[in-house]
């Protein structure tokens, strides 16, 4: 070729492409671009750890520095996936230990991480910098001690929402005195007390510390001295925020907070006592992110705090905020982009509602013009409210509504909420994520299939009437990647009619639906690059199940790695040569 660029130039150009999609597109242009991209790809995202083998990833991308891997299906968060299902990261770590000596970052979500994994990470990657374990499990604080002791260049240790076998807080003391590179530490999920003096020394010797999320065990009277060592903090998660009001503690705390000129994000506040809240008022004007979802504080103190944050972009809060609080948010927090309201008492059996209704969400949708992302738990909803929200905020990209009682109709008209959700998908043309709830017929799926062309993830529960619903979604939603369904009357017909569609998606989860064993086998035969896994916790032997048997739980995902080999005995792969049929 007379006019080809030298490789170095192309590589440099490619380095400006940050999205995986763009890089993937580049690699398809021609063989030499494929090769250049291959050798220069530094970040890899594996959306499903079973979609491809570690060896295959390493073969294609030999020089990776950062890897993100996801394991269990999303519904595992709600205890729908039994223990021992899988998502083990160990095979990935062992493969990378020998092939990626310069690996710097590991981000894992919903994976099983053992102490052996952590020890191997600590030993194998000399320049290791970032470890993010999001909703992971399987390790103890001993594993964390290995990381602390050996990763000299560690910048970030983030254990968000993971389940850790918390033996003691002693692990933190394993960071050597010579270690000074900490930038971000999130231990909010840990139960036991870490050695406070070790924590304080760590904070004081790490000048680049930007993000510190403490755990509940750190008492309020210890925070001030920590903050004074780290006035450069951008993110802070407090520990328990309660104590009897003592003026000296209060003024010390207040003074410490007023030195945090860079602070943008606040969280923690377990058991917050209103008396201590004014200590943070000095930082409120700069706060862009506020997570009060562990705070049992109620109104008026709760609303008062939130309304003092005019630059708030992200708010996570419990329903103690009530409609009146959300009206205040709508008036004061004009730059709000994300709102999440969680239920304080999800199993409440009273017939009366807490003072948070659909009105709160409608207010925010009216007042906050930049609102894009919503997660809202409530007890009543109406089509009129949903239509209002849709018309107010066509720029919504994520809309997750959970009406707590399954199959709740529009409380004003007793009609299904089809029209309301229909309005959401019709007006919000950029909607990428949607969770449905309430009383819904197949009609809502017609709206979704017709309008939700950018929708990537859909969660459905207790909805629909027939296979038509599922068919409308699978055939209409062009961008659909993840679909998770529970307790809906969807069965074989829609699934088999849209078999090819499933290979264009990352995964499909269906539990307590009407899919037959026979249909699963048929699907698997027709689509060799789909793994069709049936989860069945009853004690019957696999072979004895008739074709018409309705499967409990079904997880289908595309894969180039074939059926996985680490399934527990209650997971059956429908592949014809699956191991379970042999043994």
């Amino acid at each position: 070729m007379a006019y080809s660029f030298p490789e170095e130039v192309l590589e440099h150009v490619f380095s400006f492409l940050h999205s995986d999609r763009d890089r993937n597109a580049v690699s398809l242009v021609c063989k030499s671009w494929y090769e250049i991209d291959r050798w220069s790809r530094r970040r890899v995202f594996i959306g499903n750890c079973y979609a491809i083998s570690p060896r295959a990833v390493i073969r294609r991308f030999p020089e990776v520095r950062s890897i993100k891997i996801k394991g269990k299906p999303h519904f595992a968060d709600f205890n729908l996936v039994p223990d021992g299902w899988g998502g083990y990261v160990f095979p990935w770590i062992t493969a990378m230990a020998s092939s990626y000596p310069w690996l710097e970052e590991i981000h894992l979500k919903r994976m099983v991480v053992t102490n052996a994994c952590l020890e191997l990470i600590a030993k194998s990657f000399k320049n290791f910098r970032v470890l993010v374990l999001s909703t992971c499990e399987g390790f103890s604080t001993d594993g964390l001690a290995s990381i602390a002791a050996n990763c000299r260049n560690l910048r970030e240790l983030d254990l968000r929402d993971s389940e850790v076998d918390d033996l003691s807080g002693h692990w933190l003391s394993h960071f050597p005195d010579s270690y000074t590179s900490l930038v971000s530490l999130n231990i909010s999920c840990l139960g036991s007390e870490v050695s406070f003096s070790a924590l304080e020394r760590l904070v004081s010797r790490c000048p680049n510390l930007r993000s510190l999320s403490l755990n509940r065990a750190v008492p309020i009277d210890r925070i001030a001295c920590l903050l004074r060592q780290a006035p450069q903090l951008v993110e802070l998660g407090t520990g328990a925020y309660n104590a009897e009001l003592r003026p000296d503690v209060f003024s010390s705390l207040s003074g410490a907070f007023s030195c945090l000129k860079e602070l943008r994000s606040l969280s923690g506040f377990w058991d917050a006592v209103p008396a201590y809240i004014p200590a943070v008022y000095s930082v409120c004007s700069g706060i862009t992110s506020l997570n009060l979802s562990y705070t049992t504080m109620q109104n008026p103190d709760l609303t008062k705090l939130v309304s003092q944050c005019p630059n708030l972009q992200q708010l996570w809060v419990l329903d103690y905020i009530e409609d009146c609080g959300l009206e205040a948010v709508a008036a004061s927090c004009k730059d709000l982009r994300e709102l999440r309201v969680f239920p304080s008492d999800p199993y409440e059996e009273d017939e009366f509602d807490i003072a948070l209704t659909e009105r709160g969400l409608v207010s925010v949708s009216e007042g906050c013009t930049n609102l894009q992302s919503v997660l809202y738990f409530c007890r009543q909803m109406s089509n009129a409210a949903l239509i209002s929200i849709a018309q107010n905020r066509p720029n919504l990209t994520r809309f997750r509504l959970c009406i707590i009682e399954p199959r709740s109709p529009d409380y004003l008209t007793l009609q299904p909420l089809d029209a309301g959700f229909g309005a959401i998908v019709e007006h919000c043309k950029g909607l990428r994520r949607l969770s449905l709830s309430g009383l819904l017929t197949d009609r809502v799926f017609e709206y979704i299939g017709t309008h939700a062309k950018k929708l990537e993830m859909l969660s459905v529960a207790f909805a629909g009437e027939s296979d038509l619903g599922l068919h409308l979604v699978l055939s209409g939603c062009e961008s659909l990647r993840k679909l998770e369904i529970r307790d809906c009357p969807f069965g074989d017909k829609a699934l088999l009619a849209n078999a090819e569609k499933l290979e264009t998606m990352r995964s499909l989860w269906m539990s307590s639906c009407s899919v037959s064993f026979g249909a699963c086998k048929l699907l698997c035969r027709r689509m060799p690059r789909l793994n069709v896994e049936v989860i069945d916790e009853t004690s019957e032997v696999a072979e004895s199940r008739p074709e018409s048997f309705t499967v409990q739980k079904l997880y289908i995902y595309r894969s180039v790695a074939g059926p996985r080999l680490d399934m527990p005995d209650y997971v059956l792969s429908m592949g014809e040569e699956s191991p379970d049929l042999i043994g």
Partner: protein, 208 residues
Amino acid sequence: MDALCAPADKSIIDLEATELRLGLPGTSSSSSEKLQIFVGRSNKRPLGESSMEGSSNSRSSSSSSNDPEKDGCLGCSIPPSKTQVVGWPPIRSYRKNSLQHKKEEEAKFSGIYVKVSMDGAPYLRKIDLGGYEGYRQLLTALEEMFKLAIGEYSERDGYKGSEYAPTYQDKDGDWMLLGDVPWEMFRSSCKKLRIMKGTEGVGLTCSP
């Protein structure tokens, strides 16, 4: 089963068989009809029922012949005892644990919180029974909270002279009139409060 073995190139099966419509199998309906049918039938047809069963609400052109109030709603057959559904509502365990912890804390340290509801009011309130020393104080607080008058308690007549009767649910699940038992006994057994309106509270009067 025929549909399952359809040839590979016919990727969309004949969906008429699964199409939702009213009327007997074999009849067809226009789409505008269908729309009204959807709105109308949703109040009557319970979830999961086959669409093949034609029914009495095949009146597609008339205005809603259903009485939503009367017939209840589609699928609203809430089981008599609300059993917890696994994984619903969709809240992560660490959140649940956090709330649970809070409840335990509340119970241990910061008082005896009970919910207070009033007939006709859409919202619940919560009060700390530990903050009151007797029925008089509690009643005054309730009157203030809900802006109403409850009146004086008498063992024989209950709360005469008021259309409201303060009641509480005890540990055994029974609804009792406030004031019937000694204060301490009440405080230790009260699970929740309810201010009943009208004649409902009358029947709870303890006969001496």
